[in-house]
Amino acid sequence: MNNNPRILVVDDDANLRKTLTDILRLKGYEVAATETGAEGIAEAERAFVNVALIDLKLPDMTGIEVIGRIKLATPLTESIILTGHASLDTAVEATNKGVFSYMLKPYEIDDLLQHIHRALDRQQAQQEILRLASFPRMNPNPVIEVNAAGEVTYLNPIAERIFPEQAVAQPALGVLGEVSAAMGSGERQEVVREVRVGNATFEQFLYPVPESELTRIYMLDITELKTHEVKLNRLNLRLLTIRNINEYLLVTESEEALYRFVCDALKGFERIVGVIIATRLPDHVLKPVAWAGFSEAMISALAIRWDASALGGGIMGTAAREGKPIVAVDIENDVRYLPWREIVQTWQLKSAAAVPLVADGETMGVLAVYSGQCNGFDEETINFLAEVANDIALGVHALRLDRRLHATLENMRKSLDGTVEAIVRMLELRDPYTAGHERRVAQLACAIGKEMGLPERQVEGLRVTGYLHDIGKIAVPAEILSKPTALSDIEIAMVRIHPRSGYDILKDLEFPWPVAQAVLQHHERLDGSGYPQGLKEQDIILEARILMVADVVEAMASHRPYRASRGLDAAINEITANKEKLYDPVVVDACARLFAEHRFSLDGGY
């Protein structure tokens, strides 16, 4: 459109048409020339005309008519009227109605060119104005302009739709006065702030409009983002609570502790001022077993049942009876709460929700929460509570299974202890000279483990492992074991098979501790000089690292028929001298401490 402006010449004078066409072409314009108005209109419809030069008097119609028709199709076309003196008034009047200008015949060509030039200039400006005006108009978000007096001077269509006149004044603009004053005085260049309009939240960007006293306001609807943020916060808090409860499930030892934990976790959460967990008793009493936010006196004054009596009519009783969530939105005006009127008033309870606790397919109790406001719990909260109830059910289920398993395992442990002792006695029969070695190693290993702060269960494992660590000697001929003189290389090699044999004997037994591995590794040394695998450092399990120290100390410090005791001090010196090289320094230190502080002796145990 802009490269080669197109000029239409409409004149019934053929000579003038020709001259004008030639000159304009020479000046670089594209030119179309017609004799009649009808032809001119057709030409303008065929392709866009930038400027139309039109004689006022045409054979078929007036030039004004022609211009009117062309502008109908292409409003941006500019027009210049060429006229004689007789029609000057008509021409002047036409310029007040959108015609760009008129020229009196005869005219100077230079003047005409100046007119064309300026007409094109105006056209370009009009185009630019159209383009620019469409920016705010098509903007998918509200755009508003306000003058210094705070009056709205412009609203784009979307702003008009969202803020109908009466609403625009205050909420959408917020407190604009001081802001625009600050802008007017040049103090501030840009202000970004959040405003609420009804239920919607907008981010407002305010700018002073240059060369005017207007303030431009761009608004972005961030309602969704805000709702998401609120939702995320709530969700995060809930998940944190659920996660905490879930983590607690991993460590809880009893149902009561779990209930107490849940109550404490829920109190203060969202609108919850009080929490009660109650379990169903066979005589239809609903017994509170844990609570938070209420006093013990209040709880013991509660009388709740889970049958259909009046005392079973509250939300707790109903939830426990029917096995589904129940909500009371306005307790004070709720007839179901008549039996507890006094308590409700004292504690200012306004609404409540209860969800059943179901374990192993059976409703076992109820979780109830209370709020100090009416309507304190929405559906989401109920869902959340149901999830917590699910967690409780899962925990209770696991605890019950655990108790069952534990009972089975306890029986197993008793029979295991008996078995271990029988085995040790058998070993001692074969090797009377080292009688008591296993027992003493077991005691020392346990003491070291305790000194190191290991959990009780692991210490118990050390005891069993200590008893069994030499069980592989069953595979070594008795005469070698009891030989009072030095052993030959072959005999030494035969003794050294005992960790492996012990491992083979124990490896298929189901222990809750790594007994077989510890036995296999108890002659390894940290620097890899041990046997049978030559393991090093952390490749040797902790139990074996404890066991080797206990074994060495006991062996050196105890009397043997075939050699005198080298004494406890020598034994401690030996492990201390080789700590880090052969022995785990933490183990050695623990062992040395035990003896130095006389908290352990090999004869009497503790």
Partner: protein, 400 residues
């Protein structure tokens, strides 16, 4: 905007000044007069004029200098130069230096009035353009214009700052990459209306409002940064459906999936199996090594499981140390093989800090008479049996 257009008449001939000023007032303009260049400049410093009529020959300085000084003070003020024939060349030069036009003395009053009208109109148009141009310029979000050839014809400052490569890359820019077809359709239809698209660039998400602007025959795209909103949406989805520790489905999400799959199995009779597993002696790990180690163990077991199941199997944390795997399109044999594979993979794995760890598995298959509860109950019983029979094993239970 001003109500009356103001015109400054600069001429050293007092009669001519007065006549002109009077005529212009009659025509509805406000006027001010100056006898020389200095007065004219002083007047321009006091107030803004739409137009200055300047005689080329002034007593104190050339008319062109006066024009230049006035334009320096208010760039939008138009100037019409009045001159005698002798200075015609200079007058023509003046239009090249920003004068709106020149007029040879003596001139027709009609001609002068026509030129004044054009100049004032131009001044108004320029002011309007200036005001309107600030709409896209100040817009805090990006706006882009494209022509038919796909070239970028306009970027507002925000767009230039955010997408510096747009002007050279055009429609191959990642922002516009997926909108090519839409833009082509808009060009064909040339219908106004707002079409919304989303585009991702790295971490950021943008909402594109694409429309055809008929007045100027261009495609305009308003770009909104909706990264924060998208991120919040994704986070909400993740929080609501996944276990925060292990990143796999949580119980709520898994229940929903299970309900769907049970439905599907019921309706189409497709096989479906359920595996439940539980870490052996996990409480001990927590007791002995603390929660943090316990958490890493749960994560490590989860990744082992994920590595060893099919892509369409769903693993979920059921609660505590209990997990579920839903295996659609899989019979009891395949499921128990899969569970055995998982058991081995975990038993052979060396876990940091704690060394060895084992897991017990219960496996069951959906039966036509099953509902959700009976299915869950059976898989739980199967798991219990695995625990009871010594742990670190897979137990299968089939419905009666």
């Amino acid at each position: 905007m001003k109500i009356k257009e103001k015109i400054l008449v600069v001429d050293d001939d007092p009669n001519l000044r007065k006549t002109l000023a009077d005529i212009l007032r009659v025509k509805g303009y406000e006027t001010a007069v100056a006898a020389n260049g200095a007065e004219a400049i002083a007047a321009a410093e006091r107030e803004i004029f739409s137009l200055a009529l300047i005689d080329l020959m002034l007593p104190d300085m050339p008319g062109l200098d006066v024009m230049a000084r006035i334009k320096a003070i208010s760039p939008l003020t138009e100037a019409v130069i009045l001159t005698g024939h002798a200075s015609m060349e200079t007058a023509i030069k003046a239009t090249g230096q920003g004068a709106f036009s020149y007029l040879l003395k003596p001139y027709q009053m009609d001609d002068l009035l026509q030129q004044i009208r054009h100049a004032v109109e131009r001044n108004q148009a320029q002011e309007e353009i200036l005001r309107l141009a600030s709409f896209p310029r100040l817009l805090p979000s990006s706006v882009i214009e494209l022509d038919l050839a796909g070239g970028v014809t306009y970027l507002n400052p925000a767009a230039e700052r955010l997408f510096p490569e747009l002007s050279t890359m055009g429609q191959s820019h990642p922002l516009l990459h997926d909108s090519g077809e839409l833009i082509a359709t808009l060009w064909q239809g040339k219908q106004p209306g707002d079409t919304v698209r989303e585009a991702r660039i790295g971490e950021a998400t943008y909402e594109l409002h694409v429309s055809y602007v008929r007045e100027v025959d261009l495609i305009r795209i308003y770009v909104l940064d909706i990264t924060q909103r998208k991120r919040a949406e994704e986070e909400i989805y993740l929080l609501a459906t996944t276990d925060s520790l292990t990143g796999i489905a949580n119980r709520r999400e898994f229940s929903a999936i299970l309900v769907r799959e049970v439905d599907r199995a019921k309706r189409y009779g497709t096989p479906m199996t359920l595996v439940m597993y539980d870490l052996d002696y996990f409480k001990r790990v927590n007791d002995a090594f603390g929660h943090d180690v316990g958490d890493t163990v749960l994560q490590a077991v989860t990744s082992l499981v994920k590595e060893n199941i099919r892509a369409n199997d769903v693993v979920a944390r059921w609660g505590g140390e209990e997990f579920m795997v839903l295996m659609p399109q899989s019979d009891i044999k395949a499921a128990s093989n899969a569970a055995e594979k998982l058991r081995l993979a975990i038993a052979e794995h060396h876990f940091d800090n704690i060394g060895k760890l084992t897991v017990s598995f219960g496996v069951t298959a959906f039966e036509p008479q099953d509902d959700l509860n009976s299915l869950l109950k059976r898989v739980d019983d199967a798991l219990y049996r695995a625990k009871e029979r010594g742990r670190n094993r897979v137990e299968i239970l089939v419905g009666e």
